[in-house]
Symmetry: C2
Subunit: 344 residues, 2 copies
């Protein structure tokens, strides 16, 4: 049997859809007489009210808001999968908001989530954020807040991140062990702790293996495929000798690969490459891209579990927050097999 809808009642009584909808919801603009007519018709036709239970009047929404820079980046979408999986198992729904790497949009996102009555917020901050700003408002409302990957450590909120220092060290050490000597590092001008940590790892690995630190080999810009291309053009036009590149993330590494191919520079024999973040395309491109995996799914699950604990505990910002650092994992693929065929 076809379900009876509001439209059927409207047709039956020859009145508008919205009049029927409002009458059924006891809207004050509708006369008592009309309401009675509509309710009688609804009963006669066998109309049943919506299945959806409204939680508007209860204290809890069972909705968690997740604020991320961009879901185009598979690192973030993969962490979100981990969060959704644990949250759904525990009866929570997850709503997502993209900041597009803008702290202004991020502020708007916090406002939107709070006005949507979420029970809490899990976030990874925008690349250009410089203060804790609107995030304090979440804490001031005593609504639970937790961070993953990119966190604001001044705030009393738990976080799950990876050990970015260790990741930077591992990536650089791998290139050194593969036989590369003049290792470029491409990093960000903008002020994010995770990128600074990756660079610190790079510098310490060079030092540990007795390689000189050459500031000419550290390039700074705004991470993107195009910036990766520019870096290669820049290095080759300035005739700076280099035989490997460690980029702060994978999209920039992809730009490096594309430009090296254009200039007929062999990867990995003339130049070795390693990225960071293990984006989904890295195993599909040619040569396949070596990278650092950040245990994204586990990161999502861990932060969701911490968050559930917070929700249970109740008084969210009383004790020192738990800060979990996951270990990065080195993924060796074709792009960093060593400077000569003999090394493979």
């Amino acid at each position: 049997m076809k379900k009876v809808t509001i439209l059927d009642i409207a047709k039956e009584l020859d009145i508008t859809f919205s009049t029927v909808a409002r009458a059924l919801n006891d809207h004050p603009a509708i006369s008592k007489n009309t309401k009675e007519l509509v309710k009688a018709a609804a009963e006669r036709l066998g109309y049943r009210k919506n299945k959806i239970a409204s939680s508007l009047r209860s204290g809890k929404s069972n909705i968690i808001g997740v604020l991320v820079p961009s879901l185009d980046v598979s690192f973030f979408s993969s962490v979100v999968h981990g969060i959704e999986s644990i949250m759904n198992q525990n009866g929570y729904s997850v709503l997502l908001y993209q900041s597009q790497e803008s702290y202004k949009k991020e502020d708007k996102g916090i406002e939107t989530l709070l006005n949507s009555r979420v029970d809490g917020v899990i976030a990874s901050i925008a690349i250009n954020r410089e203060d804790s700003g609107t995030y304090e408002d979440i804490i001031n409302r005593n609504i639970p807040l937790a961070f993953f990957d990119r966190s604001l450590d001044d705030l009393n909120a738990p976080s799950v991140t990876i050990d970015d220092y260790k990741g930077g060290y591992m990536a650089t050490e791998h290139l050194i062990k593969a036989g590369y000597k003049n290792i470029v590092h491409i990093t960000e001008t903008r002020n994010l702790a995770i990128f600074k940590e990756r660079m610190r790892g790079y510098k310490d690995a060079l030092k540990a293996y007795g390689l000189p630190l050459n500031e000419d080999l550290i390039l700074k810009g705004n991470l993107s495929l195009d910036f990766g291309k520019e870096c290669v053009k820049n290095l080759t036009s300035r005739k700076i000798p280099f035989d490997a590149i460690f980029t702060l993330e994978d999209f920039t590494a992809m730009g490096v690969i594309q430009q090296l191919k254009v200039q007929h520079i062999n990867i990995p024999h003339e130049v070795g490459i390693i990225g960071f973040a293990n984006e989904a395309f890295g195993s599909l491109v040619s040569p396949t891209l070596s990278t650092i995996d950040q245990q994204t799914n586990r990161m999502g699950e861990e932060i969701a579990l911490q968050f559930l604990k917070m929700l249970k505990a109740g008084d969210f910002y009383k004790s020192a927050p738990l800060r979990i650092k996951l270990d990065p994992i080195l993924i060796i693929r074709e792009s960093s097999q060593g400077p000569t065929w003999e090394n493979i």
Copy 2:
């Protein structure tokens, strides 16, 4: 000057954070005496209330909910960018919910969005949905609903889709014109109109160019990289002659490419390939993947503009809904350059 927070007030009075938060929000569980103490301390310390304006008491939330199968698929994340861009320009925020291709999660998503008091819902349905189900509840509440790409045409809601028949026809025609003769089509077992339309286009193109329809060359399964691999194994083990493959979408095409490479079958000279959807990785892989572009950004913008018109019009389901079909665009890359070197 550092901003005074609720924590500062709590420390000052040596009471808990949540007591302060609740006192400031006039919570009934807090005594009048405590409330006065807290408010006096707040004033003394220079505490200012949250910047965020609550819209809870106004009729409108200015939030639009977007329900998509998966943001991992760049087709969907790209449409979402188009929607966000128009919506943000018009003062709306966008919250996202992933159905993970499950109609059950989709139902939960509708419930979540409605309970978050969104002003409307824009959706693309899950692959296994078979009836209009919970979507009717949106209409019955007289909340605006619109579809993109995958729509429920029984419902009186506007939609923006592309002409999938034309896309299927164009893809097949391109392979025929490039010189391929035994063209496989890989499609879905599940019941989505867009995939049927692509197959109809495939069949009509074969007919138009006088090529026989061979049912052995139509393979059905669940779209995925792995299914693409299986199809190649299946065709070669059964020794079915084929020289080109048109897949219903790009991930399956990627599986086809990977398996052909494993079996040392040359692309595009022994087998040509074209996908559908113009996923981001298609231009990064080797060989680069020919595909059908769906004008994602324009699709997002168009559906957002239709939606804004609906919001203005007020009585959402009175007149026949506008259904816009965009034209697909053929993207020719390396994977379909023709069966012999001479064709390039």
